[in-house]
Structures are given as C-alpha cells and as structure tokens.
Symmetry: C2
Subunit: 244 residues, 2 copies
DNA sequence: CCAAAAGTGTTGTGCCTACACCCATGG
DNA sequence: CCATGGGTGTAGGCACAACACTTTTGG
C-alpha cells in the first residue's frame, strides 16, 4: 500500500491517501508508405497477461519524468523509433482495463515520417511491426479502443490541420499526398481541386527537382512542406476553410 | 511505497513496480447568466498548500471508481452541483505540479444550465463561487493553465457543436443565445445571419410563448433546443458549415 | 411619442464542385 | 506507338457576408 504522502480533507476530518492506482502511457504511432498504406506500430507482448498478443508500445511512468518524456522513452526502448509529431490523445481510466490491478493510461498520438517507416520495416525485428489500420490483429487490454479513437482523431485532424506532411518524406510527389488523403478518408477526391486548395494555403512549395521516373508514366515534380510558413500562419491564425 | 502488484519487463529482467504517482481529477465547470456572463466554478481551499486560494473542484480518484464517477462525486461533494455535459479535457502530468508529491490530474470540461448557475449564486456558500472568465483570481497549482485550456476548448467547440444550449435555460430568447456567442467569441455577430444559420440547422424550435417583457422593448418569443433532432442529426452526420 | 429591443429580406461576391484533355516518359 | 501516370482551366451554383427598416411594448 502506498504511503500517505500528505493529508487531504473534503470533510472536516483529514484522512490518509492510500491510492492504489498505477499510471502508464501508451502511444499510437502512425506511419505511412505507398505500399502498406496507413499503419500503426505494435509490439508483441512477452509477458502475461496477454502474452504473445499485439499491443501498443508504452509502459509505466517514472516518478520524476513527464508524461511526454515517458512516451518517448518507452518508444525508444521498445521500438527504437523517434517520432515527428506527438500529442496527447485521451486518458483511459476504466476500472477493469487491466486484470491485475487498477491501471490508468494516458494515450498519445504520434506520427513518423515515411523514412522511419521503411527503416523499421527493413529490420527483421519480430518485436515491433507495422499493421495496416484496416487489418489490425486482436489487441491486448483495451488497446483496440485506443487505436479506434486515434484513427478517428487522425481522420478528423487531417481535414483541418496540415499533418499529412508529417507522414511523408521531406520531399514528396503531389500524388503521394493525394493518395494519403484518399486512403485516410476512404473516398476519391478530385485531383485538380485538391491541388488548388492545398497550394492556396501556401504551405507547400514546388521544388526544381523531378523524381527519377521509376515506374511508367510522366515523372512528377517534387514538393516540400514549408514549416516556417506554417508557423507564421499559425500565429496569425489561418483559416483552412474546407480542405476536402 | 506502493506494493508491487505485478512484475513488468522491458528488458529481460523483471522488476517490481514501485510507482509513487497519485491520480486526481479536476473539473472546469462553466456556467452562464445574462448578468455575470460566462463563468467558472471555483472552490476555496481549506488546507495547505495554497490554503485560502481558489482552485478547481476535484480530488483523488478512488481505487474502484471510473474517472467520470470521480469527477461527478467530487463535484457533488464540493459544490452540490449536477452538470449537463461532461467531457474529458486533458491530462496534466508535469513533474512539479504539486509541491508535495507527484500528482497527475485528469481534467474535465463541464457545462451547467443557467438555472443551476443562479441556484448556486443564490446560496451564500462561501466555499464555491462563480467567477467571470475575464476576472479570474490567482489560482492554486497549475489550475490557471487548466482553465485556459478549457476556455480555449469552449471557444472552439461553440463554433462547431451546438453546446451553447447546455448553458442556457430550457427555454430561451434568441437574443440570449446570440449574447452568449458574442461574449464567448469576443466580437459582434450579425443578428440576422446568426438566426438564419442557427435555424437552418433545424435544432432550435420556436415555441408559442412570448416572454413577459420585464424590461423596455418588444417582448421576445421563446425558443428551445430540440435534443431529439440533434441526436438524429449526429448519427447521420451533419455539417455545421461555418456557424459563425 | 419616444426609447428599447425584436423581428425580418435581398443582393453581391467568392469559394467549392464538377468535369476532360494534353504531356512526358519507359518499354 | 502505346500504356501509364502527371499536369492543368473553366463555368455554374450556392453559401456566406453585408446591410437598414419596421414592429411591439413600457414609460
């Protein structure tokens, strides 16, 4: 039982705090590649309960570390990955989440660049693997619920904030960006309208390079995301209007 | 020190969990009245630290109670209020939040009807008080930060979800709704455009009643929020377009 | 009859949607 | 020369913004 670190009172009589709740963090890391589509990074559990099930990377928060630090540490330890984008998603505190004890988990939402994606996919680490969001395995604990919430957030967010760029390489083809949106939204979008709207935001700049045409067809120009411009626009408050 | 409820391992060697983190919930409760504008419910702390400072209602989560239950229990105990609307806001987990120990707090965002607002304001309970969001006192812990985040959420949410109704009486004048928006947004809006847009959503119905004109001027018709219609629309997915 | 608040319509502009053909390369 | 994917412009509809006068009541 936990020590009484201090006393509290709602009534007039003070009483000890003897809370038996453990705190963890979990990360839903999204990655993207042309071939595998939008994917989530999962690890295979090596201990009970749910031994050998797939689960979100995460773990217990240390006493003197912030929640963000805990997420990044666990991601590093369990998957070796470093994320581009990290934000808090939701805190899951249901009583029966963990069969062993009361565990409350602060879930985070993370995005990694395509290069990180392929990097991990190349190694044959059996411990961490990418799963397409349409073909998820059965998950440990309530991690399925957490992922669903994260996917919902991703789908919503991509229509009003330019986070698509966090999932692509630094340089990308416009068709890549379009494909990412199509896969996330689940319906086709008009190529010309999409490009016009995206360019009108002023966040995407066309480079002078042309991709070496690997496949058939006309080689595409390369584009990059103008992060500096994005920060300028964010402070002056920018309307994304209706992005899709 | 907390018992080791179970073992964990990231590395191959299992080790005990000896986490010393306490978990609390805090509630940012918004209320509204014509006279006092948009306000937050605060309580005066009776114990150290921050004795006699104003703080958010909240407290420690019990071992076998969900986070939502904890919030509602604490609100009932500390303020006697019952909320119309409750959603999770954010989890604050900075290391130095509480001078005594590591305390992580899950903050909630709540709205109460105008009637509850006036009810509490009428009693002379010195423990809980409404404060206009423009005139907040110095707050205990990081509660100022929490309130700022909640205000941000409220301002954003009111433009894309019909939560304004949760703050008004069951029957209200259109001018009340308009005033609420004006006070929250901080700028004037066109009365005619506002009414047209709001009515076009089909969520507000005009009643056959007219308010007894207490002040000078033409008496207004009463309106009410059609909650049934709202639920219908929510499932079929409704565009709010640009509400303001 | 005057002050105060409620109620109501129209017009212009600009964004969004829908839509189809040519271009550059590899094989 | 053909298959494949990249690149581009325009016309119509509709939602949004801008705008001011009339009506009803109390004093």
């Amino acid at each position: 039982m936990k020590n009484a670190y201090f006393y509290t009172c709602n009534s007039s009589m003070a009483h000890k705090i003897t809370q038996q709740i453990l705190l963890t963090v979990d990360a839903v890391v999204f990655g993207y590649s042309q071939g595998q589509g939008v994917s989530v990074l999962l690890i295979k559990r090596k201990i009970k309960p749910f031994k050998d099930s797939w689960a979100l990377p995460g773990g217990f928060v240390h006493d003197k570390e912030s929640l963000e630090d805990a997420v990044m540490r666990e991601l590093q330890e369990e998957t070796g990955i470093s994320v581009q984008y990290l934000e808090q998603l939701y805190t899951f505190g249901g009583v029966g989440r963990d069969p062993r004890s009361r565990v409350v988990s602060v879930a985070y939402f993370a995005l990694v660049k395509s290069s990180e994606f392929t990097l991990l996919a190349a190694t044959d680490a059996a411990e961490a693997e990418w799963f397409n969001i349409e073909e998820l395995p059965v998950l440990a604990f309530d991690h399925g619920v957490i992922i669903n919430k994260a996917i919902e957030r991703l789908r919503a967010k991509i229509t009003y904030e330019p986070i698509g760029f966090e999932l692509l390489d630094r340089k990308f083809l416009f068709s890549d960006l379009e494909q990412l949106y199509v896969k996330l939204l689940g319906y086709d979008i008009d190529r010309r309208n999409f490009k016009r709207k995206m360019m009108s935001l002023g966040l995407v700049q066309q480079l002078d390079e042309v991709v070496a045409s690997s496949t058939a067809g006309r080689p595409g120009k390369l584009y990059s995301f103008d992060k500096k411009k994005y920060k300028e626009l964010k402070v002056s408050g920018f309307d994304l209007l209706k992005l899709i």
